[in-house]
């Protein structure tokens, strides 16, 4: 049984010119538990919007988004938030760590809204990503690569069913990008977590069991320049 299922979903936005622009239209997509899929697409191909719809941050205009048995489109916003807190991990291109918090606290935040905070598990995750010596460092004391490793640990903190990764290597040099990708994939495998990774980098294709071209998956006739800053 699939963990994530998208059926006939669409999303459109009102552009600055006052016209409705369709960003996403996907007939069908499925992701199984523990599976790792690369969604390949250029900037502006609607990939962030798609991930935000799966995460329940924005709602689809039509269709069905079934995540771990719940239809994200039909859930009320607070229920979507709760579902996200329990079932999803999110890795961003620009890390999105909170500067006021130490590494371990950033990881604890990843589990703060889904249930009980497990400091020991947060510590283990940071040890696993090679930051056992940096537990109490703040993000501004870390390198770019280290920041992304903290973000990866945070995404796994709530023992999610699915990790969404939005260009997680986009801001990293090749060496750190390889480390970060390896960590995401291996940690997801170790925890039985599915991974849906979005990237424009074609060199990642051979790292995944399944690669989908987002321009083919997304039937919306949108060009990168038409999204008005939305991607």
């Amino acid at each position: 049984m699939s963990l994530l299922s998208l059926k006939n979903i669409s999303k459109r936005y009102l552009s600055d010119r006052g016209e409705w622009t369709e960003i996403v239209r996907i007939s069908s997509f499925e992701l199984n538990s523990g599976e790792q899929v690369l969604l390949q697409g250029e900037s502006g191909s609607g990939k962030s919007t798609l991930l935000n719809m799966i995460a329940g941050i924005v709602t689809a205009d039509t269709g069905e988004i079934s995540l771990d048995g719940a239809d994200m489109r039909l859930l009320r916003e607070s229920a979507r938030d709760a579902h996200r807190a329990r079932s999803l991990g999110y890795v961003f291109q620009n890390f999105n760590l909170l500067d006021a918090y130490s590494c371990i606290e950033n990881v604890e935040l990843g589990m703060a809204f889904g249930g009980k905070t497990d400091v020991e598990f947060a510590r283990k995750l940071l040890e696993r990503v090679g930051l056992s010596e940096r537990l109490n460092y703040r993000p501004d004391q870390l390198s770019q690569g280290q920041k992304q490793r903290v973000a990866i640990a945070r995404a796994l903190a709530n023992r999610p069913k699915l990790v969404l990764a939005d260009e997680p290597t986009g801001n990293l040099d090749p060496s750190n990008a390889a480390i970060a990708l390896d960590l995401i994939q291996s940690l997801c495998r170790e925890n039985g977590t599915a991974l849906l990774l979005v990237s424009h980098n074609p060199s990642l294709r051979d790292k995944f069991e399944r690669t989908i071209d987002l321009m083919e998956l997304n039937e919306a006739s949108v060009s990168p320049t038409e999204t008005g800053g939305l991607s």
Partner: protein
């Protein structure tokens, strides 16, 4: 990690602005309590410090001046009255007791008041409370060079039984105006919390016949303290009529405590200014919370979006923002209590030094409940707008 700890972290992160806001709330809260609670305490203490007397008879002049001089040992006497006036006052059937006072000298700024020993021996300065001497002490003998020192004056001057001192002429201490007479302390009064505490008591003849005083005034008195018999309420009206309406030589301040309350009424405009200032500071403190949190929200849109992406509900980020406002206000209120106690004790010390009236910042007053609660309410209200802003933060737009 929960909403409270996240909110507290937010406060700590903005150390300087949070500290300024907390200080503003503390100032507002302590001012509100001081202006309302302490002012009420002052009124009650001053009215209650009338020393158990119903009226004060003095030379023709202002009632307030007579009361301040005779009961609170402040201000100067408006003049002198004859010993016969005192004797006449004692003879009214409704008068339970009358005690003459004479003033005009001091010892190192503490006023010498001449009276008869019966005042300290027989009079109850409050319901069921008579003057008591510290152990080993005794009252002065009439026409002696003996003195009984009030508790506050004794402490300040370091006077004890057996100590001697030379009085100084006038009510203001002037080193060059020393009298020849040498007085010996025979007793120290226990604290009463009334103006009696800041006075040195000597026989009335001592003031009247002190070297350098006008011999023609050797039997005059400055005022007469009068206690009426219980149930003789009409007597006050009769004496008032006799001295104030029909006579033109003396003034009767009756009821004595009303005179001081009327004084407080007269300066109520000053209270209103203080109240307005306190209210203004409270509003500014609230505005400060609003401004700090609202501006912080602009800087923290991304952080809020990240929290939301991690699963925080809208109402959670709303609560976190509100808790920051309430947390800062709560810290300000606690600090406000500390400031209030320190200021109250400081003011109480000054008031006691100047008037002998004991004021306590700890006496219960409704303002000590509503002022902190009011500040918490202002803090809560100030936090609503930033909290709404946090609630409405566009997650997808601020994550990128």
């Amino acid at each position: 990690m929960n909403s409270v700890s996240i909110a507290m972290r937010g406060i700590r992160e903005r150390r300087v602005s949070s500290a300024i806001t907390i200080a503003a709330v503390a100032l507002a809260c302590s001012l509100l309590m001081l202006v309302w609670a302490f002012k009420k305490e002052a009124e009650q203490s001053f009215a209650g410090a009338s020393g158990g007397f119903d009226a004060v008879l003095g030379p023709r002049g202002s009632k307030l001046q007579i009361v301040l001089n005779a009961l609170y040992h402040l201000d100067e006497s408006p003049g002198l009255m004859r010993w016969a006036d005192y004797e006449q006052a004692t003879k009214f059937p409704a008068v339970e007791a009358a005690y003459p006072l004479a003033v005009g000298d001091n010892y190192r700024g503490y006023r010498l008041v001449g009276s008869i020993p019966e005042y300290l021996q027989n009079h109850a300065y409050a319901e069921g409370q008579s003057f008591e001497l510290e152990s080993g002490g005794s009252l002065f003998e009439p026409r002696s060079m003996q003195a009984v020192v009030g508790a506050f004056a004794a402490r300040r001057l370091g006077l004890g039984i057996g100590d001697t001192f030379h009085p100084y002429h006038g009510l203001v201490y002037n080193e060059g105006a020393k009298h020849e007479e040498l007085y010996t302390v025979t007793g120290v009064l226990k604290a009463t919390g009334t103006p009696v505490d800041k006075v040195i008591w000597i026989p009335i003849s001592g003031i009247q016949t002190m070297s350098g005083h006008n011999p023609k005034a050797a039997t005059d008195v400055s005022a007469v303290l009068i206690k009426l018999k219980q149930g003789a309420s009409m007597a006050g009206f009769q004496l008032d009529m006799m001295y104030n309406k029909q006579g033109d030589r003396l003034t009767l301040a009756w009821p004595a405590n009303r005179t001081i309350l009327q004084f407080f009424d007269k300066i109520s405009w000053f209270d209103k200014i203080l109240q307005a200032v306190a209210a203004l500071v409270a509003i500014i403190a609230g505005g400060s919370i609003l401004a700090i949190l609202y501006n912080a929200m602009n800087e923290r849109k991304r952080d809020i979006a990240v929290l939301r992406a991690l699963g925080a509900r809208k109402r959670t980020v709303f609560m976190i923002s509100l808790l920051e406002a309430v947390g800062m206000t709560f810290a300000g209120v606690i600090l406000g209590f500390v400031v209030y106690v320190f200021l109250g004790m400081g003011i109480g010390e000054i008031v006691q030094r100047e008037t002998g009236v004991a004021l306590s910042p700890f006496s219960g007053n409704a303002a000590m409940v509503w002022a902190p609660l009011g500040m918490l309410g202002i803090g809560l209200l100030s936090g609503v707008l930033p909290a709404i802003k946090a609630y409405r933060t566009d997650v997808s737009r601020n994550l990128s």
